[in-house]
Symmetry: C2
Subunit: 346 residues, 2 copies
């Protein structure tokens, strides 16, 4: 038993150890590891054996110093507990893993650090980053200036050469609006979240849907895109002087809170009021009634964003200054039982 089972960290074998064990030079080992060259049968076997015996794998940091690549990609999320973002991370994680890249995850809601400093720190540890959180103007500028490969989630266009991924929120809201309109709704409340960039777009889409028909749309605002906020504003939305016959929430979490509270207040859904949200989070299926929503392809969004990011990283080696662009993912209304037909007005 020469092997002491202590918890002390033992130092991994270096390329020199392998070279020595195999009786070749470090250069030979390096070329062997990184492929791209053929060797004598003899040498090949000895190196293979040495690598195996010593359990060698190259030191990512030392390698990174030479190549300028970290082998990591970053993803900056506002709040991982929002299932929409969770799925986004899931999709991104899958593609990254497949490409042999590690995922550096940052939840901005947890950072006491100012976001600019956070991004600067992150930028040295990754080859590129997906930004899905709202970032300040200076941070955006710095990111642009630093030349780090970035893919934005959402229709951000902070200049040409920028890459972004997301669905057309105005069109999505238009679809949902038409669904409600076709069901006979005319008095619609929108529980928006002005802290998010797209809330306004969704509000626009809703207005588009009801344009030219005798309707009353009203805008409310929550302070965070969470279920608790949906609960908080429920009574002010539902029990006002001229209550709506349908409520659209900025996202499913808010809708969940509204739905629960509506029922607690004695309203029947959808008989008294229809409720709908955005994102098609899986838990919308398990409320009763199940929640009508708009699927925004969360997981596919993450996958696509990561693919685009990897493209940009790979291209970074070349001289081509890769053009920007936007991937628009198709949204889709998922009609469930929380929205129902309204009788024709008297």
């Amino acid at each position: 038993m020469t092997d002491d089972a202590s918890t002390r960290r033992r130092k991994p074998a270096t390329i020199r150890d392998v070279a020595q064990a195999a009786g070749v030079s470090t250069a030979t080992v390096s070329k062997f590891i990184n492929g791209g060259q053929r060797f004598t049968r003899e040498v090949e076997e000895r190196v293979t054996a040495a690598v195996r015996d010593l359990g060698y794998s190259s030191n990512p940091m030392a390698r990174g110093m030479i190549t300028g690549q970290t082998g990591n990609v970053g993803i900056v999320i506002l709040d991982i507990c929002n299932p929409h973002f969770t799925s986004l991370v899931k999709g991104a994680s899958r593609v990254a893993a497949r490409a042999g890249l590690n995922l550096l995850f940052t939840d901005t809601a947890e950072g006491h650090t100012p976001e600019l400093a956070m991004l600067q720190a992150l930028s040295r540890r990754v080859d590129g980053v997906i930004v899905s959180a709202r970032v300040s103007e200076p941070a955006l500028e710095w990111l642009q200036h630093a030349g780090l490969p970035v893919v934005y989630y959402g229709g951000h266009q902070p200049g040409p050469g920028c890459r972004s991924v997301g669905s057309d929120n105005r069109a999505a809201a238009l679809m949902l609006g038409r669904h409600l309109r076709d069901l006979g709704h005319r008095r619609v409340a929108y529980a928006g979240f002005s802290g998010a960039r797209w809330s306004a777009e969704r509000w626009q889409g809703l207005q588009d849907a009801f344009a030219g028909c005798d309707s009353a749309l009203r805008l409310f605002d929550v302070e965070a895109a969470v279920a608790e906020e949906g609960e908080r504003i429920a009574s002010s939305v539902l029990l006002c002087a001229e209550p709506p016959d349908a409520v659209v929430a900025y996202n499913d979490l808010i809708a969940l809170g509204l739905l629960g509270q509506a029922q607690a207040l004695g309203l029947r859904v959808p008989e008294d009021v229809s409720i709908a949200g955005f994102d098609n989070i899986v838990y919308g299926r398990y409320t009763s009634p199940a929640l009508t929503t708009v699927d925004t392809a969360s997981e596919l969004t993450g996958e696509t964003a990561m693919q685009r990011l990897i493209e940009r990283i790979r291209a970074g080696a070349d001289t081509a200054p890769l053009p920007g662009g936007h991937d628009t993912l198709v949204a889709r209304v998922i009609a469930r039982r929380s929205t129902g037909r309204r009788a024709a007005r008297t």
Copy 2:
């Protein structure tokens, strides 16, 4: 306009650039950056100015080569989409951020790579890792052997000197069982997930609760801890020859599926059957009836695990071979409307 706004990545300033600009040596700059020494008013100002002007920050890889530290910590999760794990990550992320560490996230469900290889690759890029996924025996051994600081989620004890965090599942299930027993339930089904280590512990706890009373407990098994699986086995659990008057699921996701499907099958919850789960995921509040569950302090678990990990990392420098141990977090039954009183048996 000397500043070309192209997307090309520009090289960050090095410590040598700063040294030259400030008219001092690199050693001085290094000491200045890392603090811990006093300088001449003169030097201090010049270095500060140079750092600011050049926007210098040290290269983590180069620094890591010397210090042997990466500044990253890893977290290995089975499935980020399970809200329990999402919260775990959230908690861990918070503590890591506060400690200035970056979080390297790995979802094993997405890895085509065998977990051992995945862990080996990860181990070179982090200073320590939280393992929350079930890992194979060889992977466990390798981890132990490598001497990388590790904190396990759950009552893993792969030897002394190991650190782990988790709640007492048997005790937690005992509590839930007593709750059901006190409500008058005697025929209880457990929808376990034998793929998870604790499922057996929870089953044990349930049996403990009903020991010595005339009861019938029955064990079912799902193939994944997801809502769809709860739906899948619902009919076989609920519509069998001698149906249960209460069903306990391995976790809330399975319970959600069971609850939805039970209602779809025409059963009233809790009048016809009580349903309960584990983890206290937030969406259990928004079903109707709301889901009775056992809170396992998901977020606190993540925080605690990360704190323990950081302790181990910091101690790694010293010679003390830090003792192992287990943090037991207190679980708590959250009784909601999905469990109800049963009439005394005839």
